[in-house]
């Protein structure tokens, strides 16, 4: 089934390049979105309960972006991520149980408790790390794309970053480098309206961050980041273009984070009315509505998916709480391959 035939809102333009979305794939994407939401809701709750040391930045609300983009990727493709990286990890297939354990700093974490929320990574899944440095991942994605191009693997690199990162020098350096070398990379700007507590209308000179693509003469595309299907289609075109060797695209997904910048944020910079307006456009509810209206799955089938996700994540937290802490001396390993 093609997107143009299934989109109810009319926000997705018909295209000859529409990737096929069958029932199985669409339900898989739905499940991923629900996993991200449940992961984040539980992370927030358990952070408040004192089970998660350090900082957490939650991705809830932005699920359609990670899932819409990563559904085009395989383990051979690469992504770089941000401090708000849990959703990207889940969408790229990183083990959720290992992620929960990593949030807690347990030895069973995907990074053995050495990274935590802000540095979750799994290179075997092509996930090159959440990143504590705003704009830090943009040059790294160029490098992963250079590897793909040099070795001729056909892989692409997708770089997720926020609206705040678009003001960093690395954003401009990476776009230029990717453009002149025609690297197979897609820059996905998740514009959630705020760089920490500062609105995008203040911090960014461009009304659309995608306009900045023009300076590098690469395609710049704005997409509704709350619409799974719109993201899926736009990302599909950008990724296909990169795979064809035609170079990078800047894709700006206008999205919204349901929580604050970090857990503990008082969020005085947003109005309740604004938050509710976006909650009304919940990307998961939108996907669910679409699936039901098109007879792709029944309410009961979707409920069963939801229940499965909730049970699995509940188990993940139970397991992580029971898992051993790392031995203190483990702090001394993994600095070098050899030294």
């Amino acid at each position: 089934m093609s997107i143009s035939s299934i989109d109810p809102s009319g926000t997705v333009a018909a295209s000859e390049m529409e990737p096929e979305l069958n029932r199985e794939k669409l339900l898989g994407m739905y499940e991923r979105m629900v996993q991200i939401r449940e992961f984040e809701d539980l992370a927030g709750k358990n952070f408040a309960a004192g089970l998660v040391p350090g900082f957490v930045h939650l991705y809830a609300g932005e699920e359609a972006v990670a899932v819409g983009v990563c559904s085009h990727l395989t383990d051979a493709d690469y992504i770089t991520s941000t401090h708000r990286g849990h959703g990207h990890c889940i969408a790229k297939g990183v083990d959720i149980h290992g992620m929960v354990a990593e949030l807690m700093g347990k030895s069973t974490g995907v990074c053995k408790g050495k990274g935590g929320s802000m540095h979750i990574a799994d290179v075997d899944k092509g996930m090159l790390g959440a990143n504590g440095i705003v704009g830090g991942g943009l040059p790294l994605a160029c490098g992963a794309a250079l590897t793909a191009k040099t070795l001729g693997t056909g892989a692409v690199a997708v770089c997720f970053f926020g609206d705040g990162a678009s003001n960093q020098g690395t954003f401009h350096e990476a776009l230029n480098l990717a453009a002149i070398w025609k690297l197979p990379v897609v820059f996905v700007c998740e514009n959630n309206g705020y760089a920490e507590a500062t609105p995008v209308a203040y911090h960014c000179s461009a009304s659309d961050i995608a306009n900045r693509a023009g300076a590098y003469e690469i395609p710049g595309v704005v997409v509704d980041g709350l619409d799974l299907f719109a993201v899926y289609e736009a990302a599909g075109e950008a990724i296909a273009r990169a795979r064809r060797g035609e170079g990078p695209t800047l894709l700006e997904a206008k999205t919204y984070r349901f929580y604050g910048h970090f857990q503990g944020d008082t969020i005085t910079y947003r109005t309740e009315e604004e938050v509710l307006r976006y909650r009304d456009r919940d990307p998961i509810a939108g996907a669910k509505k679409y699936i039901k209206e098109h007879g792709l799955a029944t309410e009961e089938e979707l409920d069963a998916i939801d229940a499965r996700v909730v049970a699995d994540l509940g188990q993940a937290w139970t397991d992580a709480q029971a898992a051993p802490w790392p031995h203190p001396e483990e702090a001394l390993t993994d600095v070098y391959v050899s030294y």
């Binding site: 053995k112 050495k114 490098g143």
Partner: protein, 341 residues
């Protein structure tokens, strides 16, 4: 250890060039990237020919042999291409990136320090960063405050980075072979004042292991630990002192991270006197680090206080007499040695 292979005479610059050729021939995943490492990209009459081969000519001729897909001219975009080199290293290439002058590290430090140096650790040992960053150091050519620093101490401070400071053509060759083949992030500091210096270089391709110091001159009375070009300054000081009957042992650590503590401690245990000579700035520097190590682990073997001869706590000045004052001289080194004997 370099095996007994035929010897040739090369300049330090040629030795670096030769090590790049040897490793690029043996490993097709090696790419070299940097500003004008070839020069003349996209110029019709320079398809596989360089315009410069690096601003000093260190990478001259490489594009002829390896082509422009492996010798990559970058824009002047240090954060962009050093970061890309880190990303490439984490995903299957073995890049060599040239940071033209170490003083430019401020433009790309996040990509070195927060990304490349930390990724293996933060990812629980699952990733590696087999990247060599070559860069120029050293005062002595009136290049002034932003093109003359050493700054290897900054990088030696950082976990996840190895730092290499060759002082001779043979060391430059053998250590660069090992640096490039190494699976960790290595900063390789080439002293621009030494590029023209000549020396015997073995033809073998074994490489010199990182973390093994070399005794450049044996002596019984005092140990001088000297870094990079300060090895030559200290050998000159040793000549001055030999005329006075003072036998100096010159230890070249060759790499600062890892540091061959054993060779330094053994030498001090023999001579009971230690002077450390370092062209880098003194605060939190390599010299004070080595002094602290010997004070901690070899205090009982010392007959006199450890003395440091370093650059002052200033940027590198431009004017010739100012710059010469800045660089530790053989005379100043000899005077310091006399002071503790």
């Amino acid at each position: 250890m370099v095996t007994a292979a035929p010897i040739r005479t090369l300049t330090y610059l040629q030795a670096v060039n030769e090590a790049l050729r040897v490793t690029m021939r043996e490993d097709p995943t090696i790419v070299l990237m940097g500003e004008d490492v070839a020069g003349g990209a996209n110029v019709d009459h320079l398809i596989n020919e360089d315009a410069w081969g690096g601003p000093m000519g260190v990478t001259k001729g490489l594009v002829q042999e390896f082509g422009r897909n492996r010798i990559l001219d970058t824009p002047i975009t240090e954060a962009g291409f050093i970061g890309a080199a880190v990303g490439a290293a984490a995903t299957g290439l073995r890049p060599i990136a040239e940071l033209m002058f170490v003083d430019f590290f401020g433009c790309c430090m996040d990509q070195i320090f927060d990304q490349g140096a930390k990724l293996r650790y933060m990812f629980g040992g699952k990733a590696r960063c087999p990247l060599t960053i070559r860069t120029q150091i050293g005062a002595g050519v009136n290049a002034a405050g932003q093109h003359s620093g050493c700054h290897y101490s900054v990088f030696t401070h950082m976990p996840g980075i190895k730092t290499v400071v060759p002082s001779t053509p043979a060391d430059a060759y053998g250590l660069l072979l090992s640096a490039i083949r190494d699976d960790d992030l290595v900063l390789f500091f080439e002293n621009k004042v030494l590029y023209g210096s000549k020396g015997e270089v073995p033809e073998g391709t074994d490489g010199i292991p990182l973390g093994v110091a070399d005794i450049k001159r044996e002596g019984a009375d005092v140990t001088i630990v000297a870094i990079s070009r300060m090895v030559q300054q200290s050998l000159a000081a040793a000549e001055l002192l030999a005329d006075e009957g003072i036998e100096v042992e010159v230890v070249d650590p060759r790499t600062l991270s890892p540091l061959d503590e054993e060779t330094i401690l053994n030498s001090v245990a023999k001579t009971h006197h230690l002077v450390i000579v370092d062209e880098d700035n003194p605060r939190c520097g390599a010299a004070s680090d080595i002094a602290a190590m010997v004070a901690d682990k070899g205090f009982d073997t010392l007959d006199a206080p450890i003395k440091l001869v370093t650059a002052p706590h200033t940027p590198v000045p431009f004017s010739p007499p100012l710059e010469q004052f800045y660089i530790p001289s053989p005379e100043k080194i000899a005077e310091t040695v006399r002071g503790i004997l």
